[in-house]
Amino acid sequence: MLSISVIVDHISKSYGYGIFNKKYECILNDLCLKLDRGKTIGLLGPSGVGKTTLAKIMMGLETPTSGKIFINNIDIWDSKKEERSKALKKIQMLFQDTQGSLNPKKTIAKSLYETAILVGVKISDIDSKILEFLDIVGLSPDILCRYPHQISGGQNQRVALARILLLNPEYIILDEPTSALDIAVQAQIIQLLRNLQIKRNLGYLLISHNIPLIEFMASHIIYLDKGSVVFSGSTNKFREFYLNKEK
């Protein structure tokens, strides 16, 4: 199982509830996927099916009940702390709630500055680095002195993207990245994500309800239902599956 990719290996996740008669509800059941650099996998399924739970497990934010996650061959639950932390930096997540993913008490400059410090950018280089990444995501420097609530949803999403790119990731989980945006802004963000993928060879796991968006972005689609994979295949075959399902 040696490869440069993110491998989700037979992941299951159950949550326990109840105090005296503890019961377990299975959210994810024996799920496998492989995310390569430069490729996009689309993850579809009804609300509450476990898509975001899977994303959190891949990010190391939740522990699976069983199964393993490998990031560039490193088992994130069975490796040294340093190795694990290094591997987890390769995978980042762009959230749906654009304003909520930035600290409302900090200016955009401060949010980006902190991230730059975290990745070890020299103090003397920070300003130029931040300006470089703002340019990459198509924002002008005058946004730096503003707070998240003072800028639009699309601009917030671009700032969140700039912050992620500062961390130099290889894979990005996009959790409904455009659902809170207007149609025109949505198109701008989609084009930006596509260009970044080509330039930086990024691997995307795109979680969305928006089927046309997933079909546009992804080369491989996985459809989850009741915690299990009910479809996994190419975008062309997905249309056939979905039409049959609708019947």
Binding site: S152, I183, A184, A187, I211
Partner: protein
């Protein structure tokens, strides 16, 4: 026949950083039994128009123009007269269904409230009517749904409850502010079906405020496109989707998935430092010299009105 006639409506908000020109010289009308979609980006003034119609704007709002409902200017009537018009004649469904309902009361008690207050119905009769409405709105077990609290229902179900409340008094106009925002595809489908039921059962006129073009396409008879506080194109929905006229309308349709998500350049202008002339001219691929000097008037083309010098 016109049921609502909005003429030269302008709404300005005074803020510490300057006046926000939320709606500028906007005129449109709504006919009986018609569904008019107001479409545009977030912050372009759609909800401000809705709130102006029933005068629910904050105190720092300065409103000019006229809003004639069955010949009465809603901007001039007294508060007590307006209270009768709200809900009985004009009903509004706000954004975010879960937050629009009172979490401490069952949904049933919130449906019967307007019936008891406005129609002076007995409690039992209003309960029967509420259960009937819930059935019309697609609840398989309406009596059970009646006794539930908003947190026990999904976003889509709460939206149907709001629709039921809006329908209780058979209003002449229902204003629906982003009824499908934040709902997944299947729920959006459900809500579209419920609106079709409302149109069939109630014969109400509907103002549908949305930024979702597919919802506007399915539900509306006419469509008005807003950009930066102004209507820039208004006309029959079918014709609009066949051939959008204004460059912004064209950009909007090009952003749709079937057109390959072709993004327009730039972003919407500030509502404080508004550009001179046509608001879209800094982003427009067809801009001419006059576009940056004077706001274009409405020009008629193909039974539609468009605010662009290309159609002069």
């Amino acid at each position: 026949m016109k049921i609502l006639d909005i003429c030269d409506l302008s709404v300005t908000f005074s803020t510490p950083v300057g006046d926000v020109f939320a709606v500028n010289n906007t005129s449109f009308s709504l006919n009986e039994n018609e569904t008019l979609a107001l479409v545009g980006e977030t912050g372009c003034g759609k909800s401000v128009i809705a709130n102006s119609i029933i005068r629910l704007l904050p105190q720092n709002a300065k409103v000019t123009g006229s809003i004639l409902f069955k010949g009465i200017d809603l901007l001039k009537v007294s508060e007590s007269e307006l209270e009768k018009i709200r809900q009985q004649e004009i009903s509004i469904i706000f954004q975010n269904p879960s937050l629009s309902l009172n979490p401490l009361y069952t949904v049933g008690s919130q449906i019967i409230e307007p019936l008891i207050i406005h129609k002076k119905m007995s409690k039992q009769n209003s309960i029967d009517k509420a259960i009937q409405l819930l059935k019309t709105m697609g609840f398989s077990n309406p009596s059970k749904a009646y006794g539930m609290y908003p947190y026990q229902l999904s976003g889509g179900m709460n939206q149907r409850i709001l629709l039921s409340i809006a329908m209780t008094l058979n209003p002449s106009i229902i204003i629906a502010d982003e009824p499908t925002k934040g709902l997944d595809n299947e729920l959006v489908r459900d809500i579209i079906d419920e609106f079709n039921t409302v149109k069939r059962v109630n014969n109400s006129s509907i103002i549908l405020i949305t930024h979702d073009l597919s919802v506007a396409r399915e539900l509306s008879d006419r469509i008005a496109i807003m950009y930066s506080g102004e209507i820039i194109e208004i006309g029959e929905t079918k014709k609009f989707f066949k051939k959008p006229l204004h460059p912004y309308s064209q950009a909007l349709l090009n952003s749709l998935p079937e057109k390959g998500f072709i993004a327009p350049n730039g972003t919407s202008p500030s509502m404080i430092n508004v550009p001179r002339g046509c608001k879209f001219h800094p982003r427009c691929p067809y801009k001419k010299q006059e576009c940056s000097k004077k706001i274009p008037l409405f020009y008629s083309y193909d039974d539609r009105s468009v605010r662009c010098y290309l159609f002069q």
